[in-house]
């Protein structure tokens, strides 16, 4: 088998065989021959090539051939060879052949038997073809298909394919899970029915078909069990090999899960960030020149700068602008001096918050003495820094306090001493710290201090305790103390803090205020002026033992000063001053009273105002005298308030203020007393006048009563005689009198009787004035009914229609209201006398919210122009023969109503009836109380 052509004994011509061999070689098809008798095998060159062995090195036998076959395909090959030899015509075989390098090839072999004349198989011929490329492509294709399917199935997202008719053609497991329907149920069903909005779902895949794809299409997928999940669909069309669209591939994404996942991510991110934040130490390195070269991840993580931003001097951009210049200066100085770098600055965190950091750095120096690099550390000191600032702040508060704030140990040793303490007690801190607190306590109050310390040891605080203390200069001061125990961490009392306030001034003012109050009280108690003034003077002298005070009063008429109060000046001095005229240059007080301005004489012996009184001053042992004029509220001088000293003395502002305020107080006292006297005088006058008036009134009343008595007794008696004797005359001398005489006598009798009536009426009127009013609720309706009844009984033949509104109540005097109604109803009765259908009405109407009572009749009425005359005594609008009466009735009514404080008026017209109105004042709130109580 040297050449391929020769190895085979082909059935056709040699040319044909050659051609055949050529073409087979071109087609990379190898050929072979097996002699069944000898078991010899012949291969063409191509066959050798296909099997990857060479003609020279490979001894071709059946066994060596079989050794080339892939072990997995060996059985297959043997069976094929048997089948071929049995002439079962098994067709082609696909098998793998192993190459010497271990790789294998896919081969395709064919074979057929060559028969001799007796139809016995003599040899087998066949071809072999390398199909590896095709086979691998196929394999790859198949594997890829499996892989995709697995991927699809493994996807957590529901995936479906949809046909052009909208029917589902395939689904994955996730879709089954999401819908709750099985694959079998889903395939063939309409895609849209699994959504809350089928129309929208349909529009979605239609859009995909139309446009090729749809992205993030929101839909709500409904599970079989009713739950709904929000999904976003991505869909795209897929096509056949020919490029025709055959369906839509749609993938849903459950957003709920996505959101959950998103939040999980951001949570873990936040956790990471906080972790970074928590790591407050930043380690850094720089070049010997102080420039950042290497990444500083901790810095970046903290500041949020990128590593590149930090490089060089970029890190300074994360510093607080206010700290930048200083930091740079210190850093550059450290680099220059090769000395350790140490600074505090504010560093901006990634979220923009600045926090205090302490930065430290040292140069790393190698053996040659040159700086290799700088290494350093930045530490977050923010919280401790703030705490420190707070402490500093508190300390500055303590230091700046006006109050003394003192710390002391339980053994009374002073531990701390602020500026306030220095101001109040006079000691500097370095003079007093370490000394016992008792140096501040007056000797007589030692026991009090012991008591305080005892209480403190028991943990009891003391608040606003007022006591006395000694200043460094020995002066006693009043202080208000608040002392609190200081406890250690286990609650044991280890010392005390004392807050002391100097209340000396306050005490002084309190005392002065008390004095002021006492003075004003005494004023109202009617204590004599001289005593009150003495009290003022003594108070001032007690408050300041160096002062001798005096109050002089100015007598306006004579222009002289009179002694007010000067209890501490000698009598001879006061006697000399008393009656001293005022004028410019006449001592301090004389000048002050004259000019109305304060006079300050610091040294009597040298001051010109005192020229005439120097000896007097020497004898009285006074050396300085300041005088403040006491001014009235109208501004006129009413006296002087003076303060003397035993030695020449210049007043402080406080002295002058005190003097002025005392002058003011004295002015109030004097003016008040003057006003009081004036009021008393007025009161006395008033009382006198009241007494005189009352006496006048009483005598007038007595006169009136005597008059009434006399009238009622004496005026009537002659009338009785006139009437009686006229009657006797008429009777006894009837025969001697003619008709005219008898008529005349009758006239005399009538006149006398009328006179008697008039007297009675005028007496009644005067009685109304004198009688005491007793105000009680009066039922006017009932009263009117009684009066009406009386009238009916008196003249039963009269027909009068009485209409009385019930429940007319007034607060009035019942007896007098009876007189009123008798008169008014009597009048109405009288003046309706000629009316055939007389009508009298009593009632009440409201005017301006108050009741007005009225009595109306339909009688003859009157002309309103006479209305003002109606109420005059003895005023009549009709003749006696028309209507009888004395004309005193309405006068009485008016008198009564007026005495009640009310109003009465009458309206009417001729032949139109008349209406009398009366109203009472609104009862005051306490009126009823008075009458009921």
């Amino acid at each position: 088998m040297k050449t391929a052509g020769n190895t085979i004994n082909p059935p056709g011509s040699k040319e044909e065989e050659l051609l055949m061999a050529e073409s087979m070689q071109a087609a990379h098809i190898g050929s072979w021959l097996l002699d069944l008798a000898t078991q010899r095998i012949v291969w063409s060159d191509e066959t050798y090539h296909i099997y990857g062995v060479s003609r020279e090195s490979f001894t071709l036998t059946v066994d060596s051939f079989l050794s080339l076959i892939h072990s997995d395909d060996l059985v297959l090959m043997k069976e094929w060879l048997r089948a071929c030899m049995a002439d079962e015509k098994p067709g082609g075989i696909e098998f793998r052949a192993t190459r010497s390098d271990g790789s294998f090839k896919y081969l395709y072999g064919r074979g057929s038997m060559v028969l001799d004349k007796e139809n016995k198989p003599t040899r087998m011929v066949g071809t072999v073809q390398d199909i590896t490329r095709r086979k691998l492509a196929e394999e790859a294709l198949r594997a890829a298909g499996n892989y995709n399917r697995r991927l699809i199935e493994a996807s957590l997202d529901p995936l479906v394919t949809i046909g052009p008719d909208g029917k589902i053609t395939d689904v994955n497991t996730a879709t089954e899970k999401a819908t709750g329907h099985s694959r079998e149920e889903l395939i063939g069903a309409d895609f849209s029915i699994y959504f809350t909005e089928p129309r929208k779902a349909r529009e979605g895949y239609e859009q995909a078909f139309r446009e090729g794809e749809v992205w993030d299409y929101p839909l709500k997928l409904r599970h079989k069990d009713g739950t709904v999940i929000s999904v976003l669909y991505n869909a795209s069309v897929y096509r056949s090999k020919e490029g025709a669209v055959v369906g839509v591939f749609a993938a849903a994404r459950d957003i709920t899960d996505l959101e959950r996942a998103m939040s999980a991510v951001s949570e873990s991110e936040a956790r990471f960030r906080s972790l970074v934040t928590a790591i407050s130490e930043i380690v850094w390195t720089t070049t010997p020149e102080g420039l950042v070269r290497d990444d500083i991840p901790t810095w970046c993580a903290y500041t949020g700068q990128t590593c590149d931003e930090v490089k060089g001097s970029g890190w300074t951009k994360a510093l607080h602008p206010d700290d930048l210049e200083r930091t740079l200066a210190v850093w550059q100085q450290a680099v220059k001096d090769r000395s350790p770098y140490r600074i505090e600055y504010r560093l901006r965190r990634h979220d923009g918050v600045y926090r205090y950091f302490a930065a430290k750095g040292v140069p790393v120096i190698d053996v040659s003495g040159t700086i290799r690099e700088w290494v350093g550390l930045c530490t977050d000191i923010h919280d401790s820094k703030l705490a420190e600032e707070k402490i500093l702040h508190l300390a500055s508060i303590v230091e700046s306090s006006d109050d003394a704030i003192i710390g002391k140990a339980l053994d009374e040793k002073i531990l701390s001493w602020n500026l306030g303490a220095q101001r109040i007690y006079g000691y500097r801190a370095d003079e007093i710290v370490g000394r016992p607190v008792s140096v501040l306590v007056p000797a007589n109050l030692r026991k009090e201090l012991d008591g305080i310390m005892e209480r403190l040891k028991c943990g009891v605080s003391i608040e606003h305790f007022e006591t006395a203390r000694v200043r460094k200069d020995g002066q006693l001061i009043c202080v208000s103390l608040t002392i609190s125990p200081i406890k250690d961490s286990i609650g044991k009392v280890v010392g005390a803090s004392t807050v002391a306030r100097d209340v000396t001034e306050r005490r002084l003012l309190e005392k002065r205020e008390l004095m002021r109050v006492k003075i004003l009280e005494n004023l109202t108690k009617g204590i004599p002026l001289r005593e009150i003034l003495t009290e003022i003077v003594l108070h001032i002298e007690q408050e300041n033992k160096d002062i001798i005070a005096s109050i002089l009063l100015l007598d306006k008429e004579t222009g002289r000063l009179l002694l007010g109060a000067a209890p501490s000046l000698p009598r001879f001095y006061n006697e000399t001053i008393h009656g001293m005229p005022i004028g410019q240059g006449i001592g301090s007080c004389g000048t002050a009273a004259f000019t109305g301005k304060r006079v300050v004489v610091e040294n009597i012996q040298t001051h010109p105002f005192w020229e005439a009184f120097r000896d007097l001053a020497v004898r009285a042992r006074v050396a300085s005298c300041w005088s403040e004029p006491i001014l009235s509220s109208q501004g006129s001088v009413i006296g002087t308030f003076a303060m003397y000293h035993r030695i020449p003395y210049a007043p402080t502002d406080r002295d002058l203020d005190l003097m002025k305020s005392m002058a003011g107080l004295t002015s109030v006292v004097i003016e008040h007393r003057q006003a009081e006297e004036k009021i008393q005088k007025l009161n006395e006058e008033l009382e006198q006048r009241v007494i005189a008036r009352t006496a006048q009134l009483e005598s007038a009343n007595k006169e009136l009563e005597a008059f009434a008595y006399s009238v009622s007794h004496d005026l009537r008696a002659p009338l009785r005689s006139i009437d009686g004797f006229s009657r006797i005359l008429l009777e006894d001398y009837a025969d001697k009198l003619d008709e005219a005489g008898r008529e005349n006598l009758q006239i005399v009798r009538n006149a006398s009787q009328r006179m008697a009536h008039l007297i009675d009426d005028i007496l009644q009127l005067s009685r109304l004035n004198r009688a005491q009013l007793r105000l009680l609720p009066v039922d006017l309706s009932a009263l009117a009914a009684t009066v009406a009844d009386d009238l009916r009984k008196l003249e039963p033949e009269r027909k009068v229609d009485f209409q009385i509104e019930p429940g007319c109540i007034a607060l009035a005097d019942g007896n007098q209201m009876r007189v009123v109604l008798e008169n008014l109803i009597g009048n109405a009765w009288k003046f309706t006398g000629k009316h055939p259908e007389a009508k009298i009405e009593f009632g009440r109407e409201m005017r301006d919210g108050s009741p007005v009572f009225f009595l109306h009749d339909n009688g003859v009425g009157f002309d309103m122009k006479y209305a003002p005359k109606l109420f005059g005594a003895f005023q009549r609008l009709h003749t006696t023969s028309e209507f009888p009466g004395t004309g005193i009735g309405l006068a009485s009514v008016q008198r009564i109503i007026h005495r009640h404080g009310g109003k009465v008026w009458i309206e009417g017209r001729v032949d139109g009836g008349a209406t009398a109105y009366f109203a009472f004042p609104k009862p005051k709130q306490n009126h009823e109380n008075n009458s009921s109580g």
Partner: protein, 148 residues
């Protein structure tokens, strides 16, 4: 015979009273005194006489208030203060109807208070009724009638 004591200073009124008594046919003895002093003198004598059985006390005293020397109220007070006279019926007969007069009269123990009307007819009627009441209807205290 029952006696009436009239204490009245006005002679006109005395005359009118007597006329009224006469017109009313009252025949009882009318003793007239013109003031309180006289009245008390008369009553002192009358009570003595009554005790001795030689006379009687008046059955009623008609007492005017406004009188010279001793007025009506004072007289009334004296009568009521006198053991022998205190039960005598006293009718105040006066011109006044002042409330104070009325109140004081009763306060002092007047048995009645009559105002003299100006109209003689009315006056006469009042006198008649007085006589009828005090002399006929009224049962006097025993000291007046005992020895009568």
């Amino acid at each position: 015979m029952k006696t009436i004591l009239l204490v009245e200073d006005n002679p006109d009124d005395v005359k009118l009273t007597k006329r009224a008594l006469r017109e009313n046919k009252i025949a009882n003895e009318l003793v007239v005194v013109s003031d309180g002093v006289e009245a008390m003198e008369y009553l002192a004598e009358a009570s003595t006489a009554a005790e001795e059985g030689t006379g009687t006390l008046p059955s009623v005293i008609l007492l005017d208030l406004k009188l010279p020397r001793m007025d009506g109220l004072e007289t009334l007070r004296k009568i009521r203060a006198d053991e022998r006279l205190k039960r005598l019926p006293v009718v105040v007969l006066t011109s006044s109807k002042e409330e104070t007069d009325i109140l004081r009269s009763y306060d002092h123990g007047a048995n009645s208070y009559i105002r003299k009307p100006v109209d003689f007819e009315q006056f006469s009627e009042a006198v008649r009724e007085l006589e009828l009441y005090w002399l006929l209807l009224n049962e006097p205290p025993p000291e007046i009638t005992a020895k009568a």
